[in-house]
């Protein structure tokens, strides 16, 4: 797992280099996102525009970070592709995370 990280104040944009967020990399993704939180970025936009597959373990990693941030920050999701969006809807996680069409939109919302 390898992510690109771009920060603006306490807002971070995290972009996974993997095209799949699955059981193989779920723990690593969670650890990397929590490291971003520990570094002082409580508002995170995760850009999934390059991700074409997510499984239940990948979703579990996102939920774990969301729970860690409860009341202290936010994990927003950007650029979700249709097949992945179907999974967010199926699992009702589209009601848990704020979803944005693009990373710039997510960053703008997190700055406000």
């Amino acid at each position: 797992m390898n992510c690109r990280l771009h920060t603006e104040g306490n807002v971070a944009l995290v972009t996974p280099r993997n095209t799949r967020l699955d059981a193989r990399i779920a723990d690593e993704l969670k650890d990397q996102l929590l490291a971003v939180v520990r570094d002082g970025h409580a508002r995170i936009a995760l850009d999934l525009s390059g991700v074409d597959f997510v499984d239940s373990s990948g979703l579990g990693a996102l939920v774990a970070v969301r729970r860690q941030l409860e009341g202290q920050g936010e994990l927003a999701i950007a650029g979700v592709r249709p097949a992945v969006m179907k999974l967010f809807r199926l699992t009702r996680l589209d009601r848990v995370f704020r979803l944005f069409d693009s990373a710039p939109e997510a960053l703008a919302a997190l700055h406000n």
Partner: protein
Amino acid sequence: MAGGAITLSIDSTLDDVALVGRAVRAICRALPGGARAASDVELCVVEAVNNAIEHSYGGLRGQRVDVHFIACDGWVEIEVVDHGRGFGDSGPPCLVAPDVLDEGGRGLYIMHALMDEVTFRRENSCNVVRLTRRLGRRRLPS
């Protein structure tokens, strides 16, 4: 490919699951009416293989997971077979929609939601998860 069967076998490591998932999706897409179901079938096969590796084998490498893919008459049937402990004496857990903020427990829910039929059985020291999905049209209501 209008019908037929193929078996894919991998070692019990999460590193190889994507390989099976991509192969299953490609096979499904090659079937008449299969394009629409391909992503759902891939996801459900990945979930079943993940369960075999992480739960039935407890993460132990060096074991075998077989994926039998059968296509016939507008349907696909996939059996995911392992030789681990399976779900134990209690059988598969009851299907309950997980709480939205649970970190785990979504795999079985996803399989049941996206397939027309999901069954579990244990035979000859094997655990078999059978996934069935109709192609081409909307899946049957559950």
